[in-house]
């Protein structure tokens, strides 16, 4: 074709699933097209939990502890991502990234507490 060749990418769709794929197969489908899909979803959940905890604490007490809220939501994300590996939609590379990010935040929180 004039102006260069096109590279056709065959992205997987629902037709790639079969009867034994289950919920894990459906949830893992976006990974084939965009490997960071679940990373962003986990980050979004982390942000939602963090901001919810922070602002609710601020409303109740007048001031909030952002690092504490971040570390509590980090623990939730660690549990969520380990469940994701059991179901089969979160890959080890995503799990490792999320684990390290969350561990560093938890460690900082412990150091900030006297």
């Amino acid at each position: 074709m004039e102006g260069g060749d096109f590279i056709m990418v065959d992205y997987p769709d629902m037709s790639n699933l079969n009867a034994t794929s289950g919920i894990g197969g459906i949830l893992a489908l976006p990974n084939a097209s965009y490997p960071y899909f679940w990373t962003w979803i986990l980050f979004g959940i982390w942000m939602i939990i963090t901001t919810s905890l922070y602002f609710s604490e601020k409303e109740r007490k007048g001031k909030g502890n952002l690092l504490s809220s971040m570390s509590v939501s980090s623990l939730a994300i660690i549990i969520l991502s380990s469940l994701g590996t059991i179901i089969g939609f979160i890959e080890v590379s995503v799990m490792v990234q999320s684990l390290i990010f969350n561990l560093v935040i938890i460690s900082l929180w412990i150091f900030s507490e006297n």
Binding site: T85, I86, G88, E91, V92, S93, M95, E113
Partner: protein, 144 residues
């Protein structure tokens, strides 16, 4: 922040990291997760996990030997008799605690992010110099 709190926090971080790793790995093993999805499949994680395990094993062995040393002190020992041999090494205990913390905060993110070891070494050296100056300043009462 005093030294006691600092060391307790470091120990807490090491134990917390180890327990989180253990929780994930045990949950995956119990649920028969495929090998490709297991956390131990990642060599960086399995290396740090086994190093942490070794550190805590050493810590346990030291604690047991300290307990053994305590128990061998004869009850007939007279008052005023001085026990000169060390039954508990504070520096060794602190060293093991700091190692666990170091692996969690520095080595693990460094291996995941792919930072060269030389860069980490330079920052580590600067950090050690500041720690030595800080210890000296606290010891001399410059800062409290």
């Amino acid at each position: 922040m005093n030294f006691k709190v600092l060391l307790v926090n470091m120990a807490l971080i090491g134990i917390l990291t180890f327990s989180i790793f253990a929780f994930i790995i045990q949950t995956q093993v119990d649920n028969d997760v495929e090998d490709s999805y297991r956390l131990t499949n990642d060599t960086r994680i399995s290396t740090v996990y086994s190093q942490l395990e070794d550190d805590f094993q050493t810590y346990k062995d030291n604690a047991e030997s300290s307990e053994g040393n305590f128990s061998v002190v004869p009850p007939t020992q007279q008052y005023g008799e001085l026990e000169v041999t060390s039954i508990f090494s504070l520096t060794k205990t602190a060293q093991i605690i700091i190692k666990g913390f170091w692996k969690t905060i520095i080595i693990l993110p460094q291996s995941i992010l792919g930072v060269p070891s030389s860069i980490v070494g330079i920052f580590g050296a600067i950090l050690v110099i500041f720690i030595v100056i800080g210890v000296w300043a606290i010891w001399k009462g410059v800062i409290s």
